[in-house]
């Protein structure tokens, strides 16, 4: 067995593999390929699991069971977050923020499931900036639409914070504008980078474990075992990151919506 074969490619897990429809499936006549890939499969799985999760909370009992309580905790959590950040007007965004938060959370968590043990290959589609970018652009578009629909051209006053002395306006406004325009990029890249970094780290550590034990018992105890212990810790950290990144995405979206709803 050569060393080349045993090598683990930490990037391979992000490869998109068309499952079917790679040839003929094109969108309209645009020539854009819409093959059903492993990424799309995990989006489907995320949607179905999320649907089943929320369905379990739909019993609408006066005295909730555990599952219903759990679902109601999540809806209440999103509701409270929007009410705290946006106010009463924030309630109408609960469906969107809830969908966003739960979709990202479930995608992150499902991507971390140790399904490789039974031969399946989990795929974390939130580690692709094409996906996180679309989600970020969606949130940013909502902010723009709500802002211009509610405040018209007055929405541009967002770039002049309250109490700015007028000689400072020409300096402050471009800075505010740039920071505003950076939002969708920071929103999308943050999630993409966090998810990818975690998965790469786990993969690299697992390659240390495999290569360490492959190089002999001495290296196994010297490198493989500490790496494995570290991996367990990183796994717990990654579960935390999965929740935090979903929360950050939803929280920032609600903060941006607050700007659009209330200016400042």
């Amino acid at each position: 067995m050569s060393a080349e074969q045993a090598k683990v490619d930490p990037m391979h897990q992000f490869t998109i593999e068309p499952l079917f429809g790679s040839e003929g499936w094109e969108l309209g006549g645009t020539g854009l390929n819409i093959a059903f890939t492993n990424s799309a499969l995990w989006m489907l799985i995320t949607t179905v699991v999320l649907f089943l999760f929320v369905l379990g909370g739909m019993k609408r009992e006066l005295v909730p069971g555990r599952w219903q309580m759990m679902v109601e905790t999540f809806t209440g959590f999103i509701d409270d977050m929007l009410e705290a950040n946006v106010g009463k007007a924030g309630r109408k965004y609960v469906p969107y923020i809830f969908s966003l938060f739960m979709f990202i959370l479930f995608a992150n968590l499902l991507g971390l499931m140790p399904l490789g043990v039974v031969g399946l290959h989990p795929f974390t589609f939130t580690s692709h900036f094409t996906v996180t970018g679309v989600l970020a652009i969606m949130s940013f578009s909502i902010v723009l639409l709500v802002g211009f629909w509610k405040h018209g051209l007055h929405f541009f006053s967002l770039f002049v914070p309250h109490g700015t002395p007028w000689p400072m306006v020409p300096v402050i406004a471009p800075i505010e504008f740039i920071s505003f325009m950076v939002r969708p990029f920071s929103l999308g890249l943050r999630l993409f980078v966090a998810m990818m970094a975690g998965h790469v780290l786990l993969e690299v550590l697992s390659s240390f474990v495999i290569d360490g034990w492959g190089a002999g018992v001495g290296f196994g105890f010297l490198v493989g075992l500490p790496s494995f212990i570290l991996m367990i810790g990183i796994c717990a950290l990654e579960l935390l990151v999965a929740g935090i990144q979903a929360y950050v995405f939803a929280l920032l979206t609600s903060l941006y919506i607050n700007d659009a709803e209330n200016l400042h």
Partner: protein, 164 residues
């Protein structure tokens, strides 16, 4: 880095399927199911608040009724005492009246008896007089041999009796 290496060939598929599945998530779960879940929560909250308010109202009503009952009870007690006092007064008045009537009856009986006694005495006296007249006639005729008429004898007896 497959994210960049495969960008040209996969981005349309990624965007397309993301829009499909996130759209499904948003419209079916976010728009369809979440409001119902939140409605259940709101319904429960309002029911709890309503139950608490109803319990408070019931307690207030019970307190008010107890107060009203106490007032009524006091009124009833006062009116009962008034009735008792009235009955007592009436009874006293009635017995007094009866006593008075009985007294009157006794008095009238006494008067009657007294008159009867007086009559009897006058009758007896009259009899004594007539007896005395006859006796006086008898005695005079025997002693003096003089026949005295009855009126004269009567006159004489009356004079004698009046002089004692």
């Amino acid at each position: 880095m497959p994210q960049i290496a495969q960008l040209a060939e996969t981005w349309s598929s990624q965007v397309f399927w993301l829009l499909i599945f996130f759209g499904l998530t948003f419209f079916v779960i976010g728009r369809g199911m979440v409001p119902k879940v939140m409605e259940t929560v709101a319904h429960r909250d309002s029911q709890i608040a309503g139950d608490l308010a109803a319990a408070k109202a019931a307690r207030d009503a019970a307190d008010a009724q107890e107060d009203a009952w106490r007032v009524r009870e006091n009124e009833n007690r006062a009116s009962a005492q008034a009735i008792v006092a009235k009955a007592k007064d009436e009874a006293a008045a009635k017995s007094e009246k009866k006593l008075k009537a009985a007294q009157a009856r006794i008095d009238s009986k006494l008067d009657e008896a007294e008159t009867r006694i007086a009559e009897a005495r006058t009758a007896a006296l009259a009899e004594v007089e007539s007896v005395a007249v006859e006796a006086a006639q008898d005695i005079v005729s025997r002693l003096a041999g003089v026949k005295v008429t009855k009126p004269a004898a009567t006159k004489a007896v009356k004079e004698a009796m009046n002089h004692g």
